[in-house]
């Protein structure tokens, strides 16, 4: 394993692209959702303005807030940048990719979740602890389902390295495998839950009894809130890229070559745009569930993922 200059540049480019594109993706999903719901859409660049505004504002800290509360946004942001760095979005040949395989990626998301849940409990308000508790509830239901999805794909590729999985899937003939279909369905359900979207959570709500993610970050303001919002966008971006890398990797660059990455960029943008629009559509046609329906929803995802694994082992093991 060596670090070439062009490799490092490519890595840097992938990270910067993630940082820049992530709010845009959030804005695009919001816009699509508004159109589908017959509302007039907010500007596409609204998330950038929002971040800029928040960074300018003073931080208002609650009296009881500890140093952990102040460190958490940076740590959460760091986890998400790391995740964005290792997911093959443009190219499968990134120098940081060996730093974490798919299992470690799940670990990175877990670390971010723990810190944000702890920060939510830090000030000691009723909504904060409520949010933290619900987030951990969703987390422990979603994480095994995500792991099982990854397991299915890892069995197909005989590897947990994301780059190898993406290359293997890209080189297979274009046939729908039942195991991949199950895994994809499970992954979609999990990513809706993990990104605090309808039907599990609603990013637009501040209605006390229904919120999860928003309840956790109620006490944050200024630059801390900006970082958390940015990290949430990055999470949506990384999940989208992860889904694309696992299930639709066609068009991704496989060499550490800058030109190949530049050609891969428009393909990625088109895929993200379609994916974002579909996510908005799914959010629109679904209704938000009661919190205690969430275990059923995520349990279904878990079972689908395990089913995918079993189908893989039963029917496709010799393929």
């Amino acid at each position: 394993m060596t670090f070439s200059t062009s490799g490092l540049l490519g890595q840097l480019f992938a990270i910067l692209l993630a940082l820049v594109l992530a709010p845009l993706l959030t804005g695009w999903v919001n816009q699509c959702r508004a159109w589908l719901q017959n509302r007039s859409a907010p500007p596409l660049l609204l998330p950038y303005h929002m971040l800029h505004k928040l960074f300018h504002k003073d931080v208002v800290l609650a009296h009881g807030a500890s140093s952990l509360f102040r460190a958490a946004p940076f740590i959460v942001f760091g986890c998400m940048v790391l995740a964005a760095a290792i997911i093959p979005s443009l190219s499968t040949d990134l120098p940081f990719a060996p730093a974490a395989d798919a299992l470690a990626l799940v670990g990175a998301f877990g670390l971010a979740r723990i810190f944000i849940a702890l920060a939510a409990m830090d000030v000691g308000t009723s909504f904060g602890t409520l949010g933290g508790r619900r987030e951990m509830l969703i987390g422990f239901l979603a994480e095994p389902a995500l792991l099982m999805t990854i397991f299915t794909m890892a069995m197909i590729a005989q590897s947990t390295s994301l780059a190898t999985i993406a290359e293997t899937v890209a080189h297979r003939e274009l046939v729908i495998y039942p195991s991949i279909a199950f895994a994809g369905l499970a992954f979609t359900m999990v990513s809706f839950a993990e990104n605090a979207r309808v039907p599990v959570d609603n990013p637009a709500t501040h209605l006390e009894l229904t919120m999860i993610h928003e309840a956790m970050i109620l006490e944050y303001s200024g630059r801390h809130l900006a970082l958390i919002e940015w990290a949430a966008s990055l999470k949506l971006y990384t999940y989208s890229c992860l889904g694309l890398a696992l299930f639709f990797p066609w068009g991704i660059a496989e060499r550490d070559n800058f030109m190949a990455m530049i050609t891969a960029l428009p393909i990625l943008l088109v895929k993200l745009a379609i994916g974002g629009a579909l996510a908005a559509l799914l959010e629109t046609i679904n209704a938000k569930m009661r919190i205690f329906r969430a275990p059923e929803f995520l349990g279904t995802a878990f079972l689908l993922a395990v089913l995918g694994l079993l189908v893989r082992l039963l029917l496709e093991a010799r393929v």
């Binding site: 760091g78 790391l82 000691g124 508790r133 947990t160 190898t164 275990p295």
Partner: protein
């Protein structure tokens, strides 16, 4: 100085521990000497033991004979690579715990400090002897000394009724386990009467007797480790014992049981049947899930950690099961992967669980509350303990970049490559078991977030907590040592796995060391980087750089202004500490989702109550399903015996007379 063999060094260390303990008796109530001189000395010896074990890894086998024991059976001792791993674990982690104990133990009710010191160091020495023993007799003697010394340590505060009860349950389970181990050794001698381990290795048992020996060992060592259904002593003994003792028992003593299980199943029995692996896998999974579910609903901080220990022991046994399964099909490379995961998790768990138990000790001293419902907000007055405990929580939740993640990662990798097993139905069950492991790990995160969030974060639930003080310097040193080990084990897995290689080579003939060494020290790729890799250093660096650089950048580009104000909380300002989640409240979703798993008594207030109260009591099903029927049976049998045993001398004399007559009739020359 003539070069001492490592095994001699270890024997000297054991003697020194005993001497320290005995020296404590001369200054029975002088807390200063015992705490400031004897315990730190014990910690130094621990470091020495740990270093010796570390250095002995990869060396040859050393044996020794002590001229004590039975006339025909002197104590045989042996230091090989498997022993060395656990000796290292014992030394390194007990050093941290002893340092902490030096600051922790103080004059109080219960056992005199001098006696406590003797029990403590006897406990350490006996654990060392358990690891070194090379015949069944020496092993059982050391095992019993270990059980008894820890029993006395658990009952330090013997004036409390519940402490005595906890000690009794512990002693009972320990002895049921010991009988089972003894029987297992008896089966393994194969009737040859040679009780040395070398003699057992030479025996060729039939599969039937081999299985009997394995199952007896699984039960016996499982009773010490806390496997279902003989786990009941753990949640009783840990809250009763002083915190350093809990740390030592959970962090180190449970690992001697894992050592014993590995020693018997991979070394002494001399065969491996595939279904042993399945049995261990099943028992381990059930234990892990059970432990973690109960951990999430506890309200006593030490009980929560005790259930979490049950969970981790479950995971270890899952790993052992996987090792046996692969080993029985001669898939040694995969068996080595699973075994490395087991050994690594032993080290990781010893680190983070001792750390967390010691942190509860500091909290207990600072606040004298053990119930989560009376704590909160301690990160303010106790920043050291709080931040060091965070390391334990992250490692315990199995998250990168700390130690717990490495072993979990290795275990999941082992699961992932299981479809190569010759039996197709196993191929399907084993990956599905990985799903249960994933669920366990995720639930562990829930339990530990609850533990940490309710103790250290939020508003203080009692006004008296404002006067809480941070740990004293020796305590901080002990905690920091354990946290540093947790970090090192997390960040440098390649280095440690290369050392563990010697043990897997010894047991299975294969190891991960070469493959790991091919990559740089920073990259862990047990099979090949294309298949799976993990570089915790890069992981840690990225997050650290973003934390520092991001902070600097934000402050440079914008500003670093901060204003303080009351909490916002959707505009409602009048919220006291009672508005936060209680420990019970936090785990309410778990109780609801997994309702049939718990035996629950609930009382909800009605609008007519004078003093409305909400009471939730969660109990272990096993007490009612298993232990109470057994206790009733024992009572019924003893009631029958009472009839024979009337208490009158004349009747007893008659029994003696009748027996004599019968014997004379039967045993004629």
């Amino acid at each position: 100085m003539p070069s001492l063999l490592a095994i001699d060094v270890l024997l000297i260390a054991a003697c020194l521990w005993l001497t320290i303990g005995l020296a404590g008796l001369t200054v029975l109530r002088n807390t200063f000497i015992i705490a400031r001189i004897l315990f730190p000395l014990g910690a130094l010896i621990g470091l020495w033991v740990g270093y010796t074990g570390f250095a002995a890894l990869g060396g040859g086998v050393q044996v020794a004979k002590l001229a004590i024991g039975l006339p025909t059976l002197p104590f045989h001792l042996r230091l090989d690579n498997l022993t060395a791993v656990f000796v290292m674990l014992l030394g390194v982690f007990s050093a941290g715990i002893s340092t902490y104990a030096a600051g922790y133990f103080r004059q109080g009710e219960g056992t005199a400090p001098g006696v406590l010191g003797l029990e403590y160091h006897l406990f350490l020495a006996s654990m060392l002897m358990v690891l070194l023993a090379d015949d069944a007799y020496a092993f059982m003697v050391a095992w019993e000394v270990m059980a008894l010394s820890s029993f006395f340590l658990v009952t330090t505060n013997h004036k409390h009724e519940e402490v005595r009860r906890a000690g009794y349950i512990y002693l009972l389970v320990a002895h049921i386990g010991a009988i089972s181990i003894l029987l297992s050794f008896g089966v393994m001698t194969g009737g040859a009467g040679d009780y040395t381990f070398a003699g057992m290795r030479a025996q060729h048992l039939s599969p039937f007797w081999g299985s009997i020996a394995f199952l007896l060992a699984l039960f016996g060592f499982g009773a010490k480790a806390g496997l279902l259904p003989v786990h009941v002593w753990l949640p009783e003994a840990h809250p009763a014992a002083p915190s350093p003792v809990s740390a030592l028992m959970s962090g180190v003593m449970l690992k001697t049981a894992i050592y014993g299980l590995l020693r018997v199943s991979l070394d002494l029995v001399g065969m491996t049947l595939w279904w042993w692996g399945v049995v261990a896998l099943g028992v381990g999974l059930v234990t892990a899930l059970f432990g973690v579910l109960y951990a999430t609903v506890q309200s006593d901080m030490k009980r929560l950690l005790a259930y979490s220990s049950i969970e981790n022991i479950g995971l270890l046994v899952v790993g052992i099961g996987l090792t046996l399964l692969f080993h029985s099909y001669q898939m040694e490379a995969l068996a080595a992967l699973a075994l490395t995961a087991v050994l690594y998790h032993c080290l990781a768990h010893a680190g983070f669980k001792s750390l967390l138990f010691l942190c509860t000790g500091s909290v207990l001293h600072a606040t004298s509350h053990r119930s989560l419902g009376k704590l909160g907000g301690l990160i303010g007055p106790m920043p050291w303990v709080a931040w060091l405990a965070l390391a334990g929580v992250i490692a315990g939740a199995g998250l990168p970049p700390l130690s717990g993640f490495v072993s979990e990662w290795l275990l999941l990798q082992a699961f992932l490559f299981s479809p190569g097993l010759p039996q197709s139905w196993l191929n399907m069950i084993v990956p599905a078991a990985a799903a249960a492991v994933a669920l366990t790990a995720a639930l562990a995160g829930f339990a530990l977030v609850k533990f940490y969030g309710i103790i250290f974060l939020g508003q203080m639930r009692e006004p008296s907590l404002k006067d809480a003080h941070d740990a004293c310097p020796l305590e901080k040193l002990g905690l920091a040592w354990l946290a540093a080990l947790t970090l090192l084990l997390g960040v440098l897995p390649g280095t440690f796995i290369q050392k563990l290689d010697a043990a897997t080579h010894q047991l299975l003939g294969k190891g991960l060391g070469e493959r790991v060494a091919e990559q740089g020290w920073w990259l862990l790729a047990p099979i090949s980087p294309e298949r799976a890799s993990y570089a915790p250093v890069l992981f840690l660096l990225t997050i650290a750089v973003i934390l520092l650089f991001g902070r600097w950048l934000v402050r440079t580009l914008y500003h670093g202004r901060v204003r303080r104000s009351p909490a916002w909380d959707c505009g409602y300002h009048f919220q006291g500490p009672r508005a936060q989640d209680s420990a019970e409240g936090f785990s309410q979703p778990i109780r609801r989702i997994f309702e049939p798993m718990f035996r629950m008594q609930r009382h909800f207030p009605s609008i007519h109550d004078e003093k409305p109260m909400c009471i939730v009591k969660v109990e272990d099903h096993f007490w009612y399903w298993l232990y109470l029927p057994i206790a009733r049976l024992a009572n019924a049998i003893s009631a029958l015996i009472v009839r024979v045993q009337g208490g009158r001398i004349a009747v007893y004399l008659m029994y003696t007379f009748v027996t004599l007559i019968l014997l004379l009739l039967v045993a004629r020359p």
